[in-house]
């Protein structure tokens, strides 16, 4: 395929920043933490040039709170962090869910628990897809695997955040953030323009009532509902929204048609798995890859379709944690709808660098129905 569009050699973290600004992001609030520092560093350079605001906050608590304020004003805005920093943002994240605000957060995950290390990890899966903060809240979660996807997914993140008035998290890891690859700086086909984003926020943003003409009623953005039945009504509204968000589930499949074993992996681990599977294919082994691109909503229907298409085929989840996404895979494939497909699991310890060779043995064993847990 000929490619005449210029490409820039940048890190995933830089691609996040370029993608965000190209998508219309005008406010960034953050606090330094490895391995995502290129995001705030790039933002501090890019945003003033487009009359935007870069603020280095005093903590991730403050950064996420500033994000809440900027989102309430209806301006495309974001923060980014990793590990313990994302934990500190959960308070604001819950409020932004409750207040229905279009926040975009990037987590270039590092190893945990606690201070952990600065290596890659998928240990934040539960925190990202199950809510993370208090109350029933759901974040749309996108999982890029390449620097190009870091760029492209920022457009998707802002489009989804404003379409649903809901926080969106882009969940990468130290590998995705630090890997340097050629990136095309052209908006993806389904991107929303900054004007479209603004139009989506116009009906609810706080802006000063005078902007809506003389005599306009004041607006209020909040998550507190004390009157009897009011919180129930608010949660029903949120539930309906979360249900509607299920239409946004996305996944990619590679060589699955004739595969006796389908490996399920996301993000940087999916790239290592793809190399493993390519080598095995050359040896005539029928294996394929299913890669969730949205982790929430989880692409369970696509996964069930794979199970139904070839009854008896096994699934092997490979992830860099102690077993998190495997629970969503098992839920998706459980019972008759999932054809009773067998789900095996292999975990890589957080902080380690995955490579194609080290995954070959667990895949071969899974073909024979044996599980090498880690």
């Amino acid at each position: 395929m000929s490619d005449t569009v210029a490409r820039t050699l940048i890190k995933g973290n830089e691609a996040v920043a370029f993608g965000a600004v190209d998508a219309g992001c005008r406010c960034y609030f953050g606090y330094p933490i490895t391995p995502q520092n290129e995001i705030p560093e790039t933002m501090s350079r890019l945003l003033p040039a487009v009359s935007g605001h870069y603020v280095q906050a005093e903590s991730e608590v403050a950064a996420a709170s500033m994000l809440l304020g900027a989102c309430a004003a209806g301006v495309p805005s974001m923060t980014s962090s990793s590990g313990c920093g994302i934990s500190l943002m959960q308070e604001a994240l819950s409020y932004m869910n409750g207040s229905m605000l279009p926040a975009v957060l990037v987590n270039m995950a590092r190893g945990g628990p606690g201070l952990g290390d600065i290596g890659p990890s998928q240990g934040d899966y539960f925190q990202a897809v199950k809510g993370g903060g208090h109350g029933d809240h759901r974040n749309i979660v996108l999982a890029p695997a390449t620097a190009q996807e870091c760029y492209d997914f920022m457009f998707r993140a802002f489009a989804l955040a404003f379409t649903y008035a809901n926080p969106v998290m882009v969940l990468g890891d130290a590998i995705v953030g630090q890997i340097k690859e050629p990136v095309r700086r052209t908006p993806p086909a389904d991107a929303l323009s900054p004007a479209q984003l603004e139009a989506l926020a116009a009906p609810w943003r706080v802006e000063g009532r005078g902007k809506r003409g003389p005599g306009a009623a004041p607006r209020l953005i909040k998550s507190v509902y004390l009157a009897e039945g009011a919180l129930a009504a608010r949660n029903r509204l949120l539930q309906d929204k979360y249900e509607a968000m299920r239409a946004e589930a996305r996944s990619l499949s590679y060589n699955v048609d004739d595969a006796d074993l389908v490996v399920v992996a996301y993000g940087s681990i999916a790239r290592a798995v793809r190399s493993t599977l390519r080598a095995l294919r050359e040896q005539g082994v029928a294996v394929g890859l299913f890669r969730p691109v949205t982790l929430y909503p989880f692409p369970d229907e696509a996964l069930r379709a794979l199970a139904a298409a070839r009854p008896g085929r096994r699934f092997l989840v490979i992830e860099q944690n102690l077993g998190q996404m495997v629970e969503d895979v098992r839920l998706a494939l459980f019972g008759a709808a999932g054809c009773g497909a067998e789900v095996l699991w292999h975990g890589l310890m957080p902080g380690l660098l995955a490579n194609a060779q080290m995954l070959e043995e667990p895949v071969r064993m899974a073909l024979a129905g044996k599980e090498i847990r880690s």
């Binding site: 906050a57 304020g69 309430a72 604001a92 000063g208 607006r219 209020l220």
Partner: protein, 264 residues
Amino acid sequence: MNSSSMPTPDALRPRDDERLVFDAPASQADRPTHYCPGCHHGIAHRLVAEVLDELNVADRTILVASVGCSAFSYDYFTVDALEAQHGRACAVATGVRRANPGSVVFTYQGDGDMAAIGLAESVHAANRGELITAIFINNTVYGMTGGQMAPTTLIGQKTTTTPEGRHLLGEGGPLRMTELMAGLDGVAYAERCALDSVKHVRAAKKALRNAFEVQLRGLGFGFVELLSGCPTNWHMTPQAANRRISEEMIPVFPLGVTKNLLDK
């Protein structure tokens, strides 16, 4: 979404033979408040509303509310508003003001909210010189949760969590926020006032006006501390609460302007 009513129904407008000598500010919503009898939030709200009217900025003003008794302050102003998490109002206000540079943004926070859980957010927003106005209600207790010790509780003061009276060592001394704020380069105006007497109320209004003025002129962060009564949690009559402000609080929290860049 918002149920705040507009002020002064037509029924209350003067007839042809009457002359209007006293009115509610247009920026104040005409509705009963949830505050206790003798609480000073009502006076503070009214002063803020008068200032917004006089500066003619209500139509571009955004209020960032807090958590505590003043959590529902947005019900009593006719301006756009949003809720902040406990203590984070100055950070949230930073975000709103940066995203909407033409707006006028103020926070309205109690002592637990601003001086305990939100001390970092308040101090750093002030230090950055964010163009916001922070109104700080100091009544030396947590009101909404039932009278627990606040960072501003006086030494020896009995609260539900200092049954023997607050001890300096171990429980700390009363935080003097105005002095703390005045020491920060980003602060353009800092003054402590009290709401216990007519004279003090008049001074408080002037201070509030100045704290908005520095925002409008782009000079930096505006801060006003208002020593306020909480008869309910002090277990006093409103009259006794007023006396407590002048006899016990003002000696510990001296009134006056500690920073003013307006005349520079």
